[in-house]
Amino acid sequence: MPVIIKPDKCTGCGECINSCPFSSIELKDGKAVISEYCNECNACLSICPEGAITEFAQKKEFAAATDRDEYKGVWIFAEQRDGKIAPVGLELLGTGRKLAADLGVDLSAILFGSNEEEARELIRWGADRVLHADNPMLDKFNDEPYSQLLLSLIETYKPEIVLAGATAIGRSFLPRVAGRLKTGLTADCTALEIDKDTGNLLQIRPAFGGNIMATILCPECRPQMATVRPRVMKRNAYDPGRNGEVVNVSTDNLRSRTKVLNTITESSECMINLQDAEIIISGGRGLGGPKGFEILRELAKLLGGTVGSSRAAVDEGWVPYRHQVGQTGKTVCPKIYFACGISGAVQHLVGMQSSDIIIAINKNAEAPIFNVATYGIVGDLYEVVPHLIRKIKEAKQ
């Protein structure tokens, strides 16, 4: 909602100026004023010690406001590579199931390419219905046919929510669909909920490099569209006996001005392992150099885990980018996450804090990593880790 500053209450203390993520408050003649760059995020509301900042109700009609009630049902787009459904599709069914239950509607999965057996799998993972487009043109990801087809399905069936993975595929073609439909698309969500009062989808995502979280709404337009970060949502239980309908949809009139000539899968085992690993040993700036990763590798090998890193260690060139965990790296969710010499910048925490057990080893007792750690060890990792390696070796014998 728009906010105003009451000039009679404002003392010009300036507290609110720094609270604004959009730099849209300034002091003029000793009073705070809100400029046109206000995004109505309401971050300043609670800051003012004088209570001079308040909301005011003002109904804003969106130009292309769609008739909301015509739109029903939750959709998830299940992407596939080489015919096989990517894990993010199953995670979307998990969160989609909850949203559909809250709204009292059906959950549909959308599958382009692949085959009927994979379509049936989506039902066993929680879909009520699968809209399957079986056409070799869709086997490889191509933005134009994918966006044309999803657009025409949305126009035909009118779902109220459409979710896809925040992957190279989802983040590339969903914007075309949202652009054409003139509706909102929220990128890289880490939580989704239904607002009980309005039925709107609350789309929660990190912003400003993960330093803050924002709740985004698409109040007037339908469908509400979002991409969802992989490895954040939990899957439903697999039910081999679950029944549902597979609808074959028409794929006429698709065209494409881009051609995928070749698909090269890089077997960077490390990257694949990082997201699937049950144990991750990560190192950061506290390692002091590339050599530090050698003892982390030794511990990882011993525990059957893999090595991760903070952005700092990648920026220093100590370890390649594919090891990076965090906002601009991979999101991971292992059983045990070791953070060695990692201070715990927010942008790192958003990529690993849903791990089951977090073990932090850091010299600095004040490091923010200890706020998310299950177990904290204040000490020199070059003393602690070798001890740990020795003890585990002993225990194994």
Binding site: I47, K140, R176, F208, N211, T215, R257, L349, V372, A395
Partner: protein, 260 residues
């Protein structure tokens, strides 16, 4: 060849901190920079021009102070710069931003449009593909290598989550680029002189022929409901003693949880 690079001026998010008492962003002293990914778009644009000839125009939508970012781009060697700026554009989400840039680009004419893969303040990666949809041209996201630009076509490598695809597209095309594509050049002395002298044209809502209902907060389907500090778990158990005792305590804890 008419090449357009779209850039954004952003706060250096690596420098942004949270005030732990008020849970709000501390922006004081945080410098404004060209979005790092956009530097690679500018570099790619200049390299294409060096090979194929033509003209590179860099555009940005933003407040008047975004002119600084355009001057920096000129110092790297682009030919022309346009500032798309109007009070009516304030509060734009990705839809309204893409619409506005599309209207401006349509006015300028183009063969190849380049954008950084995403901006580090919003991290959405949506504006590039949306502009392509509005212009009704193909796009290729996450380009990490340009293999060949031929007569009316381009062949590139597009980064995927599990490797890369070799993709060919007809021209005109829009591409969003990743860091692996190139190393952005530093401004030259001559470039810096040119940047100082350059006259930067401002384009307003009327200049680009945008409809009022489609720009700014009015043209934005999404709204920010609220912002808040990320949650942390906050139930850590500190293990004390000398390193040996700490390790013993840790192993004991992990045994209890049947993790070892």
């Amino acid at each position: 060849m008419n090449i357009i690079a779209c850039i954004k001026q952003v706060p250096d998010t690596a420098e942004v901190k949270i005030n732990p008492v008020t849970n709000t962003l501390v922006r004081e002293g945080v410098p404004s920079i060209i979005n790092p990914y956009d530097l690679h778009a500018i570099e790619a644009a200049i390299q294409i021009k060096e090979k194929k000839g033509g003209k590179v125009t860099v555009i940005t939508m933003g407040p008047p102070q975004a002119e600084e970012a355009l001057r920096e781009a000129i110092s790297m060697g682009v030919d022309d710069a346009k500032l798309i700026s109007d009070r009516a554009f304030a509060g734009s989400d990705t839809w309204a931003t893409s619409y506005t840039l599309y209207k401006a680009i349509e006015k300028l004419g183009f063969d190849i449009i380049l954008c950084g893969k995403q901006a580090i303040d919003g991290d959405t990666a949506q504006v590039g593909p949306e502009i392509a949809e509005f212009l009704n041209i193909p796009h290729i996201a996450y380009v990490k290598k340009i293999e060949n630009i031929g007569d009316g076509f381009i062949r590139v490598h597009r980064l995927m989550d599990d490797g890369y695809d070799v993709v060919e597209s007809s021209l005109p095309v829009l591409m969003t680029v990743v860091k692996e594509l190139n190393i952005p050049r530093l401004p030259s002395l001559r470039g810096k002189m040119a940047a100082k002298k350059a006259v930067i044209t401002k384009m307003t809502m009327n200049d680009i022929g945008a409809e009022e209902d489609n720009v700014g907060i009015k043209g934005s389907p999404t709204k920010v409901k609220n912002i808040f500090a990320p949650q942390t778990k906050g139930s850590s158990k500190m293990l004390h003693g000398n390193p040996e005792e700490q390790v013993d305590a840790l192993i004991e804890e992990l045994r209890k949880l049947k993790c070892l």
